[in-house]
Every structure is written in C-alpha cells, then in structure tokens.
C-alpha cells in the first residue's frame, strides 16, 4: 500500500523557478535598488576617436556644490581585461583616448542633475591623432599604433594549415572562392548597464552590485583596479536583464563606480543610458571573410582555405579568443582534412568588441554555409545531400585539430528539418513572382547548419580548481538550499540546476531553493558564458546531490538497521525493501543531522584532459569543449521583387542539445537564438560617422519587432552525450549562426540572387535587383 514514487521533472516543460518574481515586478535588477543617500554616478566620455590626453581639467566641476568625488585616469594606473595576457584597458583613459565615447572622468554627486552639470564643467585638452575606423585603415602602412605593445595594430595573427591544402585543391572537381562581409552587431540586451558600489570606510571594504554574467571576474578585476585584497570585496549579481555575451567580462561601469565610491567614501549608483550601453559595446566585430572551398563531384569537401579579418575595436577584450574560435570552429561539424586558416584581429578606434552569442563562429559559418549552397547548385546536388556527404565519423572521434566529439546529432537534425519543412516536395515548386499576372512575390526555401561548444574546457583563468563547484545545505526544516555562483541572466540556469538536484534526490522542486550571485554566500563560479553552465555546473549539481543522497541513505540505513545498499530512495520515502513502511524524508533528515548538525555537501566537476584541444598550432586549445551542440535549419522566405522587402514566413530548426533537461527552456533558448540570428541577418548593424556611433538607440539599431518575427518551430534532437548531465549539451547559442546562411540561401532559391554582405535590408535587395534588371536590359538590347 505505497504509491510514493520519486518526483521527476527532467525532460518536462518546467516554468522558471524565478518566473513569479519576474512577472510580478518583484525581481530587482541593479538599477532597481533605489536608496536614500546613494550618490549618482556619471561618466564623462571622450568626444575624440584617437587623441593624446594633455589635460583633464576637473577643477570647475569640483567646485560645484554637491559634487562628492571626481575620478580620472590619474586615480588608477592598473589595467584590466578578461584575458590574463591582455589586461591593457584602463577604467578611465590614461595618456590616450582610443575611441569616441571612452570614459575619461567620472563624477559622484548628491543627485543626477548635479552630476550632469559637473560633467559639463570638465575640460579635456588633447592632441588629436589619426583615427582608424576600419581594419584596413588600421593595418595600412604608416598607421599609428593604438597600443605600443601591438605593432601595426594587429592584436593577434593566427595561421594554421592542417593537411595538404594545395594538393587537395588541385584534386577537387570544383573550386570556388568568395568574400563575405558581416557588419558589427551589438547585443542590445534589454537591461542597460548599471552598478552600485558601497564603500565601507570604517572597515575598508566594498560591496558592488553589478549587471554581469561573470561575478567572479568582476571580483578579480575590482581587486586589481582598486588594489584591494579580494577578501575585502563582495560582489552581488542581482537579477540581470540579459547579456548575450556583452557581460562576460568586467565592464568599465562597475570599475568606475567602485573607484568613485571609494573616493567619495560612500555608496554610488551609476545607471548608464542606452546610448552609453551601446558604446560600452562588446558586440560581434565587423568581419570580412574570404573563403575558398574545393569539392568533389559527390559533394565531399576536399579543401578549405579561410581568411578572416575582425575589426576588434580599441582594446583587446576577448579578441585573441574570438579570432581563434573563428578558425578552430571550422571543425567539429563536418569531416574536414585539408584546412588552412589565416586570422587577423585588428585594433581600431571604435568601441571594444567582445564575446557575442555564438562567439567567433557566426560570421565564418555564414560564409561557409553560403558557399556550400552555391557549390551544391553548381554541382546539381541537393544542399542536404552535400551536408550528409560531409558528416563526421560516428563518435567518439577527434577532429584534425584535436577537438573531442562524443555525440553528434547533426544527422538527426537534418532529417527533422527536411521532413517537417516539406523540403523534398516543396523546394523548387514554390510560387515565383514576375510579370503582372504572377504578382511580385517570390518564395524560396534555404537550409544551413551550425554548432557550438558547451563551455570552454579550459577557463581563461586557470587556477587548478575544479571547473565547477556547487554546495547544498540541508537543515532541520527539511529544505535544501542550492548555493551556486552560476549567474542566471534569464537563460534559466537556476531552474536547470534545481531540477538536476531534485531529480537525483527524487524530490519535488518546491523542496529546493536556490541562492546565486552573492560572493559572500555562494561558491565561486566562472560565470555564464560559452554555454558552460548546464554542462559543467549541471554535472557539479548532480555530484552534490549524489553526495547528499549518500549521507541520507547512510542515515536511513542506520535508523532502519539495514545496509545502505538495501535502502531504496523514493524521494519522500526511504525504505529497506518493498515491505518496509520506511521513513519519511523529514525523519531521515532528523537522523542524518544527529552526526553533524546542519549538513553541507559539495559537488564538483572537472573537464577531462582529452577535451582540452590540441597543440598543433598556437591557440589550438580554443574550441575544446566537453560537448558540441548541433543545429540544422530551414527558412522559408517571401521576397517582394518590386520593393526588395524580405519576409521570413517560417523557420524550422532542429537542435541537438544532447538531452532536453527542460523542454520549455530549450525551445525558448533555440527560438531566441534563431531570432537573434535573424536580427543580424536582416536589419541590425552599427554605424559610425567619423568614429561617432550613430546607431546608439533602438530605432536606428533595428531590432526585429513582434510584427517582423516569424513562427519558429523547434525540433529537439537528443543525442545523449556520454559526459553531459543526464546526457545534456548546450541549447542557447548553437542555433544562432545557421539562420544567417539559411536566410540568404532561401533568398537565392527565391530570386537567384546571392547576398554575401549583411544585413539583407530591403534597400540592399532592391539595389541588387535593379542592377540585375539593368544588366538584363543591356544584354537583350545588345
């Protein structure tokens, strides 16, 4: 007479554990901490793109009543940066300003109006230098170096050749080469950057609230910049309104706010506006790709030569990693053997780029899948057949650049989108415009694939610690508190960690509470980036739950006078065999607490050395991960041949996430990435006028609205990765890249026109059609 069964949610549709706070308005983001007595922080920014600083005169600002502190580059000579090899940025510019909008000084005042007035009184005297707003200009002979340690403005030059590329091209049946341009795009997450720094002058301690994906990195950089021992710093990450990679490194906002707070010996809140959030940037660099592919008649890729130039902006940031990803991630999706890659990361007088969702992979994938489509057409092959001709060997396998692949759901992804989109029956048969009777709308279908990592196997700050650590606290009340440093920024990481612990213990989610984002309370975590949390922290959560379960089983065995291996754990009931009436969870907890009082257990996870990438070229470790996600997409478009307006009618996307721990979240993440790819492909790009960012608002930086956005049907493919938590891999990034080429391939199918330059705006489509029409007229007239 016992119907108690372990509770279970893995694989279900589970709403976010912090959803009620978000829909009720109770969730507090950094700028929502409104407190009496807080000073208002404001940043004075350079109006010059490139200049030698002669003087920052703050004397008139300092005289203004209500101004409590002013900081300039003179207040901090330490550099910061996410990569230990490139900590060359200063919170406030010293000696030189290198982009228009770079922070030069900052003010803390009793209110915002006073702070604004103080900024007006700051005088910056400079000697202007030549400014370079394109990679080509910065690399031109005779250009002034932005940074002394980076000659010719090259942040990193990458070269590798694996296999015999020239010989393979010579043997190929078809060789094609094309160039592609992907403009700079910005995350434009909904929450603008904000920080609150509260300096405790009595104890020389500081507490910083920051809108970040990486509280631990912020902690490190605060220590470095303030010259304060890390033990004196507390970092709190409240609710965060999205990140998409722009918050995967410490930003100047939190560092400047901390400098102000210490100087004012007070609490300072800096909430920068949308324009400043755009200027803080850390988006995807403008990328020029030259791609040459050799193909055999059967569609197999014989050789690859890829040259990639990224306009990185004025500081290093993640730059070295971004240009390495662009090369290393040519691999691990198709079976490639003769690959040459040349990458250049260039320093320019524009805001610094960063690790935008799909870090380093997106623009090269756009080029690759576009050229595959062209070559398939030239060889009269179906685009699906070309992908299938190039599949990786069955896993486990290693690529030529030593990337470890243990699960590979791409074949199943291809099958799903091919079937669901009706590809075989519909492609080539959709209506085409032209002439009065047919109307102006041409429809087409396009497809493409992409992939991504589930966390970099080697963290940027290698300390020798486990890659992820989770703590569980169990106390007299029978509730379990999950303590994690993993930053939930809306992607649902807290939910998936709670689910993982509950699943192992067979408990309802309501037994478990999660605390994140306070360095005083939670264990250190490297943060939420490169899609690392589900895989790495998820495995640590499972480990912690297993450790707790072992303690509970031991306690139950003692109480029931049985051996531990005889104990059956049913979540709310522990028993020794089916006939035993057993102990309730609370009774087991009471017994377990007798030994030690409050129980805390730790769970750890470390990546395995085989996943760390190789040593065949400098930087070959970049790209190494425990598991790759895979995505295939079909996009259906309507192109209005009279106006150039492209409408996406529907997207079918299949994503191999190993195992969907939370189907609701996986669908939401995949839809969100596809849609973000759509923004980049169709409307988003930053623009500068002589170095001044002129798209620093959401009207000129055109984010798709609900009116522009198509239905996105998601197929979840589960390849069950042998190392993944319950078999899971990442779900939030890998589907972004495939949208871009799937769109342009669909436009090519609809119109015969190939767009190698993004975004595919109506005016660009219109101009291309006009050009073609003029060409036809000229030809027919001749």
């Amino acid at each position: 007479m016992n119907d108690i069964v372990p509770a279970h949610t893995i694989g279900d549709y589970v709403p976010l554990v912090d959803g009620p706070e978000k829909v009720s308005g109770r969730a507090k983001y950094t700028a929502d901490f409104v407190g009496l007595g807080m000073l208002a922080g404001r940043i004075y920014r350079s109006p010059y793109s490139h200049a030698e600083i002669l003087e920052v005169d703050v004397s008139e600002a300092a005289k203004l009543p209500g101004v409590k502190a002013i900081v300039t580059g003179a207040d901090c000579d330490k550099g910061f940066g996410v990569l230990p090899i490139a900590r060359t940025e200063h919170p406030l510019a010293r000696e030189r300003v290198r982009y228009c909008g770079e922070p030069v000084a900052a003010v803390a005042a009793i209110d915002d109006a006073t702070a604004k007035e103080a900024l007006r009184r700051i005088k910056l005297k400079v000697r202007e230098l030549p400014a370079y707003h394109t990679a080509q200009a910065a690399m031109a002979p005779g250009a002034v170096d932005l940074h002394k340690h980076r000659p010719k403005n090259i942040e990193r030059d990458v070269y590798f050749e694996l296999g015999d590329v020239n010989a393979a091209f010579a043997e190929a049946d078809l060789v094609r080469e094309a160039t592609y341009n992907c403009p700079e795009v910005c995350q434009n997450q909904m929450e603008m950057h904000a920080a609150i720094a509260d300096y405790d002058a009595e104890r020389d301690r500081i507490t910083v609230h920051a809108s970040t994906q990486v509280p631990y990195y912020v902690h490190l950089m605060l220590s470095q910049i303030l010259g304060m021992d890390m033990s004196r710093i507390r970092v709190i990450k409240p609710y965060v309104g999205g990140g998409f990679g722009c918050r995967t490194e410490t930003l100047n906002v939190e560092l400047i706010t901390a400098l102000l707070a210490r100087k004012a010996r007070a609490c300072v809140r800096t909430a920068v506006n949308r324009e400043e959030t755009f200027i803080t940037h850390r988006g995807r660099p403008e990328t020029d790709v030259r791609l040459k592919l050799g193909m055999r008649k059967d569609g197999r890729i014989a050789a690859v030569e890829c040259e990639c130039i990224q306009r990185g902006g004025a500081h290093s940031g993640y730059g070295v990693v971004t240009i390495l990803y662009a090369g290393s991630m040519l691999y691990a999706i198709y079976d490639l053997h003769n690959v040459k890659y040349l990458g250049k990361r260039v320093l320019t007088n524009t805001p610094p780029c960063g690790a935008f969702r799909g870090h380093g992979t997106v623009d090269v994938r756009f080029a690759f899948e576009s050229l595959l489509d062209d070559m398939a057409r030239a060889l009269n092959l179906d685009p699906f057949a070309v992908r299938r001709a190039n599949l990786l060997p069955a896993p486990p396998t290693f690529t030529d650049n030593d990337l470890m692949v243990n699960s590979y759901g791409l074949p199943a992804c291809l099958d799903w989108v091919e079937r669901e989109s009706g590809w075989k029956t519909r492609r080539g048969k959709l209506p085409k415009g032209g002439g009065v009777s047919k109307g102006s709308i041409s429809k087409g279908l396009g497809m493409a694939c992409s992939h991504y990592i589930s966390g970099a196997s080697k963290p940027v700050n290698w300390t020798g610690e486990p890659h992820a650590t989770v703590k569980l606290k169990l106390d007299f009340d029978g509730s379990i508190v999950l303590l994690t440093g993993a930053a939930d920024i809306g992607q649902g990481s807290s939910t998936v960690l709670v689910q993982s612990v509950a699943e192992v213990l067979g408990l309802d989610l309501s037994r478990i509470r999660v605390i994140t984002g306070d360095s005083d309370v939670v264990p250190k975590d490297n943060g939420s980036y490169s899609s690392r949390v589900t895989f790495l922290v998820g495995n640590a959560a499972i480990d912690a739950a297993n450790n707790l379960k072992a303690l509970l089983i031991a306690a139950a065995a003692r109480k029931l006078e049985a051996k531990p291996d005889e104990i059956e754990c049913l979540g709310e009931l522990y028993r020794a065999g089916a006939q035993d009436k057993g102990l309730t969870f609370n009774e087991v907890v009471n017994e377990a607490l007798k030994d030690t009082g409050t129980i805390t257990v730790t769970g750890n996870y470390s990546t395995i050395p085989e996943s760390h990438g190789g040593k065949k070229y400098r930087g070959a470790a970049i790209g190494g991960t425990m598991g790759y996600s895979y995505s295939a997409q079909v996009v259906e478009v309507s192109v209005d041949e009279e106006t150039g307006v492209v409408t996406v009618d529907k997207v079918w996307v299949a994503h191999d996430c190993g195992k969907a721990l939370n189907r609701l979240s996986v669908e939401g993440q995949v839809q969100g990435s596809v849609w973000m790819g759509m923004g980049q492909a169709m409307s988003e790009e930053t623009a500068y006028y002589d170095g001044l960012l002129v798209t620093a608002n959401m009207l000129d930086y055109r984010v798709p609205t609900i009116q522009d956005s198509p239905p996105i049907e998601v197929g979840i493919v589960e390849s069950n990765d042998p190392h993944g938590p319950f078999g899971a891999k990442e779900a939030g990034e890998g589907s972004l890249a495939a949208f871009l080429p799937a769109l342009t391939n669909a436009i090519a199918d609809a119109t015969g026109l190939r767009f190698n330059d993004l975004p595919v705006t109506p005016d660009r489509v219109f101009a291309t059609m006009e050009k073609r029409a003029r060409g036809r007229k000229t030809n027919s007239g001749a």
Binding site: K22, V23, G25, M190, G490, G668, G672, T705, I706
Partner: protein, 160 residues
C-alpha cells in the same frame, strides 16, 4: 516648481508633492519606489516602461507625471489578486513569455491593456498590440503563446 499630484495608483488614492518636470517613470521608480516598471532606453524606443493610464497602455518615459492628475495609473505591481498571479502573469510565467524578465512588465501591461479592451484577440491583434515593445530573449514566439493562454484563462474568469 512643485505641485501636488493626485491620482489613483494601483487602486489607491495618493497625493504627492512632485516637481512639474518629473517623468511618470521617475515618479514611479524613484519617488514611489515601484521599480517593477523598467527603464530600457533613452525615451520611447522599447516599451519596457509601459503602464496603464485609465486602462490604456502608455509609455511612462514619455509621460509627465503632472499629466496623470486625477487618473488611474496601473503598474505591473497592481495585477496580482489574492496574492496570486493574474491571467497575463500566468501566461508569461507558464509559457516562458519571460526569460530575463526585463521587458516583461512592459509586455504584461500592454497585454493586460489589450485583454481589457479585447478579451478575445486574434494573433494579428496580439502582434499589433505588442508591436512597440522590444524583447531580446524570446523571439516573441512564446510571448504570443503566453497572451493566447492568458486570453483563455481570462475567458474562464481569471482577471487579466
């Protein structure tokens, strides 16, 4: 210049001394302390600050507080009834219409306004009503599902 503002905020009458030029957004967030209404842009671009003024969705960042004299202003904090989530709130929570949550109060108030004037909206009407709100996480697919679900809940008696 200061003035006395009288309004009904989230169902309660209030009188506050405010400056003439304070925006409704700043009045709500900084003065009253209702921080559910979010600031997402530099004015009129994103919809995150959408509130209802006499049941009509309006942008608090483009509204002077002085102009709501004598009116009803409802923010996201007003929607819960008996401590439970409203139909729109349940829709956004249960269907994952909210990921990071930052645009959510604006979307929820625009959706609540829609359901108050049109309890059975079509998908096109939902798209039109939410056309000036930007979300960067969801791709809007689940937002549309959330509003459809909310309309269904509303139809069986859950307040919007």
């Amino acid at each position: 210049m200061a003035r006395i503002l009288q309004l009904t905020l989230n169902g309660r009458a209030r009188s506050d001394a405010i400056s003439e030029n304070i925006l409704l957004l700043d009045y709500l967030r900084e003065f009253v302390g209702l921080t559910g209404t979010k600031t997402g842009c530099d004015g009129g671009e994103c919809g995150a600050c959408t509130v209802l003024i006499n049941d009509e969705p309006r942008l608090a960042c483009l509204t002077l507080a002085a102009t709501v004299e004598g009116r009803r202003v409802d923010t996201v904090e007003s929607l819960m009834s008996d401590g439970g989530l409203s139909a729109v709130q349940r829709g956004f929570h249960e269907k994952l219409g909210s990921q990071c949550g930052y645009c959510t109060p604006g979307f929820i108030m625009a959706s609540a306004g829609l359901l108050r004037r049109n309890p059975h909206p079509t998908e096109d009407e939902i798209r039109e009503a939410l056309g000036s709100n930007i979300c960067r996480c969801t791709g809007y697919v689940k937002i549309i599902e959330a509003v459809k679900y909310a309309a269904a809940l509303h139809a069986v008696g859950v307040s919007p």
